[in-house]
């Protein structure tokens, strides 16, 4: 979520520290920060905090706790908002309250739709939002500010019957259509929730139900949207089932800031607070007056208390925090608590309604750890293990097999488990290529052998020898095979199982750094020379390397014999470029430089 420092400042009395300081505070105590640009932080809110921290209010509360900065007192508490007076001019009905635990709405008359003031436009634009008009901007502002998505209907575009407008929440019908505010027509399904105009019976595909005016919690409908002539609005602040919203959003490929919040599950307690905040802001910006509220909330959210002891906190974290340390964390986080027993330091914490993530004692332990700071967790080695660890027979055998094969010149490779044919396949592979799981290793290794043989000279190998120890799926089972490949053939067999009561001490790689290699083919040339008896191969190689230049990537002696007082030496030279395929002429010109250089030394090219 994008968080602007200026907007965040509205929650604090004192001036906030720099954006970088805020970013560091969040990084080490709450959330990863994706970027900090122009005083806007991109905060990666974790899924467990999507309930409360996809909002400025949530982030401000975190920073208040972390930096110990007081928040500006809010004129009214979240839970003591009164949605009064009630109105009879709007009726809300919910078919399945489990999927719509709460639906709050305000009926506001006499608004003047117009452009938003500068402060509001600036605030929304600072986080990449487009300003639309004062009504829509007010609802968006409140959503980002406190986390409750809202939607405004033009009251005049809903059908009135005997002085009453009606909103009904139900599941969509098969292939029910709705034109969204984004001018796209959406085709809905019975798994999706819609808000309908309850006074338009006979408009649904079955011809029985009311017309869909909003894809619940995701996107409002165009025909009932706000325009420049709107004067009466019905402002909706509802609570929706997260799974339903998530599935609908995925099915329609329609992600909105509202669906992002609802799919994380937010508290139904928040609707009243959000509605009140948005109503106040709309009246401030667009005039008008509230005719009244409606609030359908059949089963209010239950209060939760979680308990934890100081001893448990320290046992899990391996720390020595005092009662005062723990009480301080709860206070800073705004978690009301009582100490249930002075002696044993048990804490009972009344979980604020929006902290749906705090359920078990360990959740509170995490709060203590992160607010105090993970740097305060000591570094302690485990106590010695009472028993001797087990030697894994499969791993022991695999290691032994590796050693034997490497001893015989085989190098270990790894090939993909995904192939063109096999007994089992994956259903949803990105790109769709090679969806089968291999039932043997030989095909992969045969292919690897062919590819490596081409580089034999470059690798300085007489023969390419490969092996792989890998998983295959055959005859309905998952088994480990060992496969070898060399110029005499490719063969695989089951990896045996040997056991031992100790691992052998086997060598590991001593390589310091990997060197990237050229993807272009190499050219090999041989040169054989007569030299005098006192000349060493190293003397000759030094001359060759100097003359051959930087395209020479490998040079080795491959033959040596003595005849009379003369010595014959033969070398293989491999040329390769990092940025192109070499031509024969490239190699020829290097070889002629080499020939000139060696003859100058008095060595005779055979």
């Amino acid at each position: 979520m994008k968080v602007s420092r200026n907007w965040l400042q509205t929650f604090f009395e004192k001036s906030l520290p720099s954006s970088q300081t805020l970013a560091d505070a969040l990084t080490f105590h709450a959330f990863e920060i994706e970027s900090v640009e122009n005083d806007v932080l991109d905060v990666k809110v974790t899924p467990n905090r999507g309930h409360d921290c996809l909002s400025y209010r949530g982030i401000a509360k975190e920073l208040s706790a972390i930096l110990n900065l007081p928040l500006v007192p809010h004129p009214y508490g979240i839970t003591d908002v009164s949605l009064e007076p009630k109105t009879n001019a709007l009726k809300v009905t919910i078919e399945n309250p489990q999927l719509c635990p709460r639906f709050s709405a305000a009926y506001i008359n006499g608004v003047r739709v117009g452009p938003s003031p500068d402060w509001l436009r600036t605030a929304l634009e600072s986080i990449g939002q487009k300003s639309i008009n004062n009504i829509v901007d007010a609802t968006n502002y409140v959503m980002f500010n406190i986390g409750q998505p809202l939607h405004a209907f033009d009251a005049a575009k809903l059908v009135e019957k005997e002085g009453v407008r009606a909103l009904h929440v139900r599941m969509a019908e098969k292939e029910e259509k709705m034109l969204g505010l984004d001018d796209k027509e959406y085709s809905l399904a019975p798994s999706m929730l819609v808000i309908t105009d309850g006074n338009t019976l006979g408009h649904s595909p079955t011809g029985e139900l009311g017309e869909a005016v909003s894809i619940a919690g995701i996107k409002g409908g165009k025909p009932t949207g706000i325009d420049e002539n709107t004067t009466g609005i019905i402002l909706e602040a509802a609570n929706w089932d997260g799974v339903t919203i998530r599935k609908t959003s995925q099915a329609l490929k329609l992600r909105t800031d509202a669906s992002d919040r609802f799919q994380q599950v937010i508290s139904p307690e928040l609707t009243a607070y959000g509605l009140k905040a948005a109503t106040d802001l709309i009246i401030k910006l667009a005039g008008g007056e509230v005719a009244g509220f409606v609030d359908e909330y059949p089963s209010p959210q239950e209060r939760r208390q979680v308990t934890v002891s100081t001893q448990k906190v320290n046992k899990v974290l391996g720390t020595k925090f005092s009662d005062a340390d723990i009480a301080d964390v709860f206070t800073r986080l705004g978690l009301p608590f009582t100490k249930t027993s002075e002696m044993s330091s048990h804490w009972a914490v009344d979980i604020p309604f929006e902290r749906l993530d705090l359920v078990i004692p360990e959740d509170l332990i995490e709060e203590v750890a992160r607010i105090v700071g993970y740097d305060k967790i000591p570094t302690a080695e485990l106590s010695p293990f009472e028993d001797k660890p087990m030697v894994n027979a499969n791993f022991y055998t695999a290691e032994k097999t590796r050693e034997e094969l490497m001893h015989n010149g085989y190098s270990e490779v790894c090939t993909s488990v995904f192939v063109d044919k096999g007994e089992r396949a994956v259903a949803n592979k990105v790109g769709g290529e090679r969806p089968y799981l291999r039932s043997k290793l030989v095909d992969g290794l045969k292919d690897a052998l062919e590819r490596n043989v081409r580089n034999k000279d470059l690798l300085g190998l007489k023969e390419v020898k490969l092996f792989e120890i890998g998983t295959v799926w055959k005859e309905g089972k998952e088994v480990t095979l060992v496969c070898t490949a060399d110029e005499s053939g490719v063969a695989e067999k089951a990896l045996g199982e040997e056991s031992s009561d100790a691992y052998e001490d086997l060598p590991v790689s001593t390589t310091e750094r990997y060197q990237p290699f050229s993807k272009y083919p190499s050219i090999a040339r041989d040169i054989a020379l007569w030299v005098s008896a006192g000349t060493t191969p190293e003397d000759v190689l030094a001359t060759i390397r100097k003359a051959a230049g930087e395209l020479l990537v490998r040079s080795e002696k491959f033959d040596e014999f003595k005849k009379d007082e003369k010595l014959s030496l033969a070398f293989r030279l491999v040329f390769q470029s990092f940025d192109r395929t070499l031509t024969d002429e490239d190699a020829n010109s290097r070889m002629s430089s080499v020939n000139t250089a060696v003859e100058k030394e008095g060595w005779k090219v055979r």
Partner: protein, 245 residues
Amino acid sequence: MSDARGHLHPISSLIREANAIFYRMGFSYAEGPLLEDEWHNFDALNVPKDHPARDMQDTFFIKDEPGFVLRTHTSNVQIRYMESQIKKGIKPPYRIIVPGKVFRNEATDMTHEAEFFQMEGLAVGEDVSLANLKGTLARFFQELFRGADVEIRFRPSFFPFTEPSVEVDMRITGANAPEKLRDRWIEMMGAGMVHPQVLKNAGVDPDTYQGFAFGIGLDRLAMLRWGIDDIRLMHSADLRFVNQF
């Protein structure tokens, strides 16, 4: 011509080294299936169906075998190992590492692979703490980067199967640190204290036992350690790569 002895794949070399270090700390090497049921890969690890946390993983589902996936992490073996111990009547302490292949259904590029290697660590006992996690990882990296000084840092994070959850950073200092890694914090892995529900799901009493778990990407560790620039080299079967190790 040159060396008659063959070469060990760098991932195998890392696993060999890691196993030796963890063995000395009392950890056994454990394994489990790559083609796994959803219970062991998700549900038992406190990742219920339809939970946004399942979206954090891009999962390969098995065709015509509903309820089966290619494991998205080595954490499935946490459950399988504890289940099998309990079945045998063996109560904690448990200490295991689980090196092995895992899968992610995504397009591949220089830093992303659909199949890669991970190493899980799990220690459960009556008093295994988050401080022990720090100490264990510090010792592992200290021994892996012999001669250099290693610091471990935690940052808050979220995983459904740990509570508290942390992101683990490492910083290597001193003259023996690999030059490209020296003096900077590097994100290494996710870890945390095993969620009590996970212990319960595996049959271990969370009122008596607690423990830590971590999951480190071995390809990434190899890439950092040796300066390997493309993760796809691991499965390239190219000796121009393998023979450098």
